[in-house]
């Protein structure tokens, strides 16, 4: 038996002890049990950390006697991909999941107030942890040893040898593991009969939301740079399954604010917390079960039925608790007017949940259909792309309008006064975009809404800063900075809204104005394709023991600038398989995206795509980070002092 396996087994025992101690604490009000439970919790985290480090070590020393290492790595694999091979298969992914969860639990145990609410939450989190650990010590043991030691490993799939592999899975998993927290605290709130859970989960939720979103974004970026996975988003079942928890989490992030400030949506918040976690579990196993045909499904690993059963248990137990403690979730009706801020939260939730359910339905339909009719059907991307634009457009408009809405109801005068300028700005966009060559009516509607929403943001910010400057006698520009610190929750949120509108503009550009040209370029002969001129400067061949790489070197130019672009074809000597590496030249307003189809010394056949405005998606994401950071700034920094001053 491997020492790593022993560590996992002891971690499982420590987890169980910790769980039992929390239960004893909750039943007997015995404070010492809480301390004991915490120690056991920290011990299991240390053990899991040791286990995952050990597995990493086996990868680094190429210990191919360990089956998992032999399956997912090989001697010639570079250091960074050897590290990433850790989550190349189901067992390693589950270990990573369990480890991240244990880090979250430890952080909560150390940082949150020691009380019944936290006790319940940690107890619930431990049951999840015990589930993962049980899988790891039974059917998904990453430390299984072979009876022989192969000279070399199987190697990582060539498509996974991409920087995306380094960051996408762990980022997504941080998000997944993080969304166990609202679930656990929501149930803990019911059990401990405390509404404080809403306040306690906030920072964890925002943090996890960022990582979940960033993980999805990295997946899209990876997909964009690997040909054959259909651009950055293809509505593939596995992509969908990671989007659903994000959609529900976004809804939750908003609806908890209504409970915080208006004591409403209590039942809804619990349901969303459960839904987010349930879809996280769904996503984890869809990726790994092979139940659904997808480019991303990495083979059947036999965990499908277990996860289905687990999902059933989660839903049954949590809904059971909810039914048992139903008196805890009676809310006041705070929806007084369609122009109140409450209503905008309601619309936001409707849109996100409807989108979430749509994606769930489309993703699970093939599975359900097969179970019922025994014939296989698939749902095409057309289904989602017929619905998503309406949702996104409505959300963009809502993100603008929500700023000017007040709690209760907003007066008509107020609405007119504040909508005037943004409406003009929006309408004025129409001719400008039209003359810039953006002539598609659907996209123009999008641009108008986007500018309208951005104008609302700008207007609100400027007016707020002016008032603040008048009140505090600080200069106008300093007021702008102060405001963000003083009203960090408000402005953090609005910065994120703003960033989403920027991303929305990027989506409009790439969805409506992407152009594709297929062309064969002769060596040293400049050829104009669309807006740019391409010159094929020849092929470079680099060969090492594992692969032959054919570089297609292009010079891209127009009147004012010149830049090099290299796209590559690699032929793996082991699998004889050809892999395309697209070449991307990112310009401020569009990407030149080159897919090499074939190349020899004298000519190159390439497909050239122009993706206008895709850079807005990247900029938008950078701004999202800023907004989230503002939201998460501890009160100690700046805020309190400024508020007094």
């Amino acid at each position: 038996m491997d020492i790593g396996y022993s560590a996992l087994a002891v971690a499982l025992i420590a987890s169980a002890i910790s769980f039992v101690s929390f239960v004893l604490y909750l039943r007997k009000q015995d404070e010492s049990q809480y301390g004991f439970a915490r120690i056991a919790l920290v011990i299991q985290t240390v053990l899991l950390t040791a286990a995952i480090s050990l597995l990493l070590y086996y990868f680094l020393i190429h210990d191919f006697n360990v089956e998992y290492v032999a399956l997912y790595s090989e001697r010639s694999l570079s250091l960074e991909y050897t590290i990433s091979a850790l989550w190349g298969g189901a067992s390693g992914s589950l270990l990573l999941w369990a480890w991240l969860l244990s880090l979250f639990m430890t952080a909560i145990a150390l940082r949150e107030r020691k009380d019944r609410l936290t006790g319940y939450a940690l107890g619930i989190l431990l049951t999840i942890n015990i589930f993962f650990l049980s899988l790891l010590v039974t059917i998904n043991n990453p430390f299984t040893r072979l009876t022989f030691t192969p000279f070399d490993g199987n190697g990582l799939n060539p498509l996974l040898v991409n920087p995306g592999m380094l960051f996408h899975p762990p980022t997504l998993f941080i998000g997944y593991a993080g969304f166990t927290i609202p679930f656990a605290f929501a149930l803990a709130g019911l059990l401990a009969e405390s509404e404080l859970w809403i306040f306690r989960v906030r920072k964890w939720m925002i943090f996890s939301w960022l990582f979940l979103g960033f993980g999805i974004f990295l997946g899209g970026w990876w997909s964009y740079t690997v040909l054959g996975w259909g651009g950055y988003w293809a509505w593939d079942p596995v992509e969908n399954s990671s989007l659903v928890p994000w959609l529900l989490a976004t809804a939750l992030l908003h609806s908890v604010m209504l409970q915080e400030s208006r004591r409403a949506m209590k039942l809804w918040n619990v349901l969303l917390s459960i839904g987010t976690f349930a879809t996280v579990i769904l996503a984890t196993f869809l990726t790994r079960s092979g139940l659904i045909s997808s480019v991303h499904s990495f083979g059947e690993s036999g965990i499908g039925p277990i996860f289905t059963a687990y999902l059933g248990i989660i839903l049954a137990v949590s809904l059971g608790i909810l039914a048992f403690k139903f008196d805890q979730v009676k809310s006041m009706n705070v929806f007084q007017s369609a122009t109140g801020r409450e209503a905008s939260f309601l619309f936001n939730n409707l849109l996100f949940v409807v989108m979430g359910l749509t994606v769930v339905w489309g993703t699970l339909f093939p599975m359900i259909n097969e179970a019922v009719t025994h014939s296989k059907m698939s749902v095409g991307p057309g289904f989602y792309s017929a619905i998503a634009p309406w949702i996104i457009l409505s959300l963009a408009a809502l993100m603008g309008v929500c700023i000017i809405l007040r709690w209760g109801a907003t007066s008509t005068d107020d609405l007119v006064r504040k909508l005037r300028f943004p409406l003009i700005a929006g309408v004025a966009t129409l001719p400008v975009m039209y003359f810039l060559g953006f002539t598609n009516p659907a996209s123009l509607t999008g641009f108008v809404v986007a500018v309208f929403a951005v104008a609302l943001h700008v207007e609100d910010y400027l007016v707020d800063a002016k008032n603040y400057a008048g009140k505090t006698k600080v200069g106008f520009f300093r007021s702008m900075g102060h405001l963000i610190l003083v009203r960090r929750r408000r402005y953090g949120g609005y910065i994120v809204h703003f960033s989403m509108i920027i991303i929305f503009i990027g989506l409009l550009g790439t969805n409506f104005y992407e152009t594709t040209h297929s062309v064969t370029l002769q060596k040293d002969t400049p050829t104009t394709v669309g807006e740019y001129t391409f010159t094929f400067n020849g092929m470079t061949v680099t060969q090492d023991t594992t692969q032959t790489e054919y570089g297609v070197n292009l010079l891209v130019s127009d009147g004012s600038f010149k830049d090099q672009l290299t796209a590559k074809l690699t032929n793996s000597s082991k699998t004889e398989s050809m892999i395309v590496h697209v070449g991307v030249l990112s310009l401020p307003f569009q990407d030149v995206y080159v897919i090499p189809d074939a190349v020899d010394q004298s000519s190159a056949t390439v497909t050239i795509n122009y993706n206008p405005l895709i850079s807005f998606v990247w900029y938008g994401f950078a701004i999202t980070f800023v907004g989230v950071l503002v939201c998460l700034l501890p009160r100690k920094i700046g805020g309190a002092k400024l508020e007094q001053g």
């Binding site: 399956l71 799939n157 060539p158 499904s297 083979g299 009706n333 289904f383 395309v580 497909t607």
Partner: protein, 132 residues
């Protein structure tokens, strides 16, 4: 009091009418976008004229042929009993290394004109592990 009642109606409307309208709308879109996922034999037997049919099978390695001049890739897809030719514009990652291929497109004149090809390849590694 009457105002609250009125607003309850608004809420009720939002909660009942919107989802209903939405379900009606999506079921329309949905039915247009559901397409069969079939084996090679089923394509050969059935009268598959829809767009976006998904045909799964295995690529016959020595039939993989890429014509540089036309940028057209062809290969035979088989399920063991029947074989059908697939045409695709461009080249496909990892095809030579694949265990299962899903060709998505139209079936016309005995040929699948694929708009998209999914290659299940990473599974090769896990499948190999099971056998071994």
């Amino acid at each position: 009091m009457s105002k609250i009642k009125q607003m309850n109606k608004v809420k009720l409307l939002a909660m009942v009418a919107l989802p209903v309208i939405f379900i009606v709308l999506i079921s329309g879109v949905f039915s247009q976008n559901v397409s069969p996922y079939v084996s090679v034999s089923q394509v050969k037997q059935g009268n598959m004229t829809q767009r976006n049919i998904q045909v799964y099978g295995q690529a016959v390695m020595d039939t993989i042929n890429y014509n540089r001049n036309t940028n057209i890739l062809t290969f035979d897809l088989t399920d063991g009993n029947n074989t059908v030719t697939v045409q695709y514009r461009g080249i496909v990652n990892n095809l030579q290394n694949s265990t299962e291929v899903v060709a998505i497109g139209v079936y016309k004149g005995g040929v699948i004109q694929a708009e998209k090809i999914l290659v299940k390849c990473p599974s090769k590694y896990e499948a190999a592990a099971k056998e071994g």
